[in-house]
């Protein structure tokens, strides 16, 4: 910067001044046409592979920044039951009449990856785990938010119970509606991250993810998988249904 100022300071001959003016004009015209190009052919610029690469790289960078920002002790605000949003909105990548029906009798939660005891869990076994509940705000990636009440076992308790490798990087989820997602281990161990079996004190209805969903008040809604059928622990980045299409992976609140 200092050098540029110095350059400006040098007295110039009329001839070189003229050259500089021309250069400047040329630069200006190029800048302007670049700007115009950007505006007029917005699509091609947006779709250009190099632009996409930069945007994805920035999203990975934002994953890391959010990992640093994440305070494992910091609790999401909780609300009185009177603040619960009624009716609580249904939201998925399909319509409400396509909600999967999971048979409680046949249901088994599959476990895989860096877990010591990988035997499948039945619903009665899961329901016997210690429970807690929370009234927290669900924030959708679209921008809207709604307050709801979820009950279930702290996910940390479950991970400890099955002997999951708590030093691993990721916990992945597969769902009965073919949805899949994954979260960082720090969030999985957060005290408010629940393996939820109830909504508003009742068995989780199909539209909210029967027989269970992962409730994470420190992440956006799409990071809260419903109808979970398999959980795995891994050090290999697992991605997710929306994440693979471009939603930011960490998506912490």
């Amino acid at each position: 910067m200092r050098r540029l100022f110095k350059l400006d300071r040098t007295p110039v001959s009329p001839a070189s001044k003229e050259v500089r003016r021309l250069e400047r004009r040329l630069f200006l015209r190029q800048s302007l046409s670049l700007g115009a190009l950007t505006l007029m052919s917005g699509c091609s610029v947006t779709d250009a592979e190099s632009v996409q690469r930069v945007l994805w790289a920035m999203s990975r960078w934002n994953d890391r920044v959010q990992g640093w920002l994440f305070d494992p002790e910091k609790l999401a605000p909780v609300y009185p039951e009177s603040a619960i949003t009624r009716p609580f909105p249904f939201n998925a990548f399909y319509d409400e009449d396509e909600v999967p029906e999971v048979d409680a009798e046949d249901y088994k939660l599959e476990l895989a990856g860096l877990i010591r005891e990988r035997r499948p869990w039945t619903l009665p076994e899961l329901h016997a785990l210690p429970r807690t509940s929370q009234v927290t705000r669900h924030i959708c990636v679209e921008g809207w938010s709604a307050i709801g009440k979820w009950g279930g076992v702290p996910f940390r308790t479950f991970l400890e119970r099955i002997g999951a490798d708590l030093t691993a990087k990721y916990v992945g989820f597969k769902c009965a509606d073919d949805y899949y997602t994954s979260i960082d281990m720090a969030t999985a161990l957060h005290p408010q991250t629940l393996l939820a079996f109830t909504y508003a004190g009742e068995t989780l209805p199909p539209k909210f993810g029967f027989p269970m969903k992962l409730r994470i008040p420190t992440k956006l809604g799409f990071k809260n998988p419903k109808h979970v059928t398999a959980i795995y622990v891994t050090n290999m980045y697992p991605g997710g249904y929306w994440e693979d299409q471009g939603y930011n992976w960490f998506s912490g609140s």
């Binding site: 947006t46 924030i139 420190t218 609140s253």
Partner: protein
């Protein structure tokens, strides 16, 4: 940092209107703001606060996920560039010298003169209305970034979010601040079109030649 307006210029040369740092940060800011607004409109459309959506063709990103990628990439450009500008503005004396003082009397006088078409536009010297506008838009930028951070991190930065009335409050503040910013940009661009001689100096830093007795620069 050297105060750039103190350099000796040949007598026939032109006066400096804008320091290099101001010019660079201005145009980076213009690009960042454009990306933030256009991608922000697409994000808004995913869950509108009002019974109104922005025309799709005016938005950036193609879909919500794409718009979010643009928004969360350009936010770094906007914030880092803004920090460089603020630090420069304080250290170099740009704020103190070019934006202050600004008094109610001066604002009223300049509005009066502007309405009578008598307000002189001197390159390198801001009138009271300009000073007010430019100072306000800096504050507006800070509000936009802080409310944006509150929306992005309503749990980790919940104390900040609380200042805006929580997550939903921060969404409204962010949206309304965007509207005010759009009005500023609109007026700003219209003024440049009305006084076109102000456009080139924002690139070159030099005011066009001409008698400039009224624009004697104070020694820094």
């Amino acid at each position: 940092m050297a105060a750039p307006e103190t350099f000796d210029r040949p007598a026939e040369s032109t006066a400096q209107a804008h320091p290099l740092t101001v010019r660079i940060t201005h145009w980076i800011n213009a690009v960042a703001i454009l990306v933030m607004i256009l991608s922000g409109w697409r994000i808004y459309n995913a869950s509108p606060l009002l019974d109104f959506k922005f025309p799709r063709d005016l938005t950036l990103g193609g879909w919500l996920g794409g718009a979010l990628q643009w928004h969360f990439a350009a936010m770094w450009l906007l914030a880092l560039n803004g920090i460089v500008y603020l630090v420069y503005g304080f250290i170099s004396g740009h704020f103190r010298r070019d934006f202050l003082p600004v008094t109610v009397t001066a604002i009223l006088r300049d509005i009066g003169e502007a309405l009578r078409g008598k307000l002189p536009h001197e390159l390198g010297v801001y009138n009271a209305v300009q000073r007010t506008a430019y100072l306000s838009v800096i504050v507006l930028g800070v509000i936009l970034i802080l409310s944006g951070l509150a929306i992005w991190k309503p749990v980790q930065l919940q104390e900040l979010a609380a200042l805006f009335g929580g997550y939903e409050g921060a969404r409204w503040v962010h949206f309304l601040a965007m509207v005010v910013l759009c009005l500023f940009v609109l007026v700003h661009v219209i003024m440049v079109m009305l006084v076109p001689k102000t456009f080139l100096p924002m690139w070159t830093g030099r005011a066009p030649p001409g008698p400039r007795e009224s624009n004697e620069e104070k020694p820094a």
